[in-house]
Symmetry: C2
Subunit: 180 residues, 2 copies
């Protein structure tokens, strides 16, 4: 493999010296949702790196063959054994250095029978005054939650954009993640 600019292109790409195949690398989508039930929202404590021990709503890499809403529902099921109905798109955060776009939807948690998924340490419902702001996993989680509560207070549903220049998390474990 060698980094070269293919003919007609304007960016270096990974090109196989043997067969000439061009391997494009493009940003990946991380999709999630904020499931609400009776005014409280569902958060999970991450059980895997990066940012093990920190808190997030259900979110993960968007996979081939599903819609964004289906992906958000799948992540809720995987991370918190939660059944959700996905609503409107709330926030898009560009993580430039991580080559990721985080897309977060509003959602409704359909019943109280959630649990702790294989990649989580805990899961629980959390009122607006109980959000562990200092122990959120990623800047995009913080941004989406702030937009969520601001819109909810104002009785509106808007789409919000943000950009984070630095890479996500550090892979370090949480110092003292606050329990829900």
């Amino acid at each position: 493999m060698q980094l070269r600019i293919p003919p007609g292109d304007n960016r270096p790409r990974a090109i196989c010296n043997a067969c000439g195949a061009i391997h494009y690398h493009n940003p990946r989508i991380v999709v999630g949702c904020i499931p609400e039930r009776q005014g409280r929202i569902l958060l999970c404590q991450r059980g895997i790196d990066p940012r093990r021990g920190y808190w997030t709503f259900p979110a993960g890499f968007y996979e081939i063959g599903e819609t964004l809403a289906q992906a958000a529902a799948r992540e809720s099921l995987e991370e918190a054994l939660a059944r959700v109905q996905v609503g409107s798109l709330l926030a898009i955060t560009h993580l430039l250095h991580a080559a990721q776009v985080h897309m977060t939807f509003r959602a409704t948690l359909l019943d109280d029978n959630f649990g702790v998924g294989a990649e989580s340490l805990q899961a629980g419902l959390c009122g607006e005054g109980e959000i562990p702001w200092d122990h959120l996993a990623f800047p995009s989680i913080d941004f989406a939650l702030r937009c969520y509560f601001a819109d909810r207070s104002a009785g509106r549903e808007q789409l919000h954009f943000s950009t984070a220049e630095r890479a996500l998390g550090g892979g370090a474990a949480a110092g003292s993640p606050r329990a829900l």
Copy 2:
């Protein structure tokens, strides 16, 4: 390379038999915009496959290191030498079999000095009654344009979702693409 399900995962991934590296494949984002000036919108006739000869607004693969709006502006410059101001998000189309998500923004064309980019055959401004509906390049282009004009008529700016099950285009050249 071998397709296997890694430990803790639930999908087959391409895994290198020599070093164990997992090569994830995720959907790619195609980002574009509909630049409007004095009531007309900017369309380009594609000069490359797939769908050479068919019409589209400026759009292309989202690259690392840019925001979605910056990508939409870059594509306008590359495909139609056009300077645009990107506005609100108009449409998201899931292309399930192509493993793509097409995201289209509203935009304003800032001046009349556009032209024909290296990957285009023609570019031109087009009123709502002049859209070459039968010669659009992709279902996502058709969907976004219909949403655009419906919202414009209604004086609103909403975000619209659609899903296309079949793969994009066929790579075949256009039979008789209509000139603008």
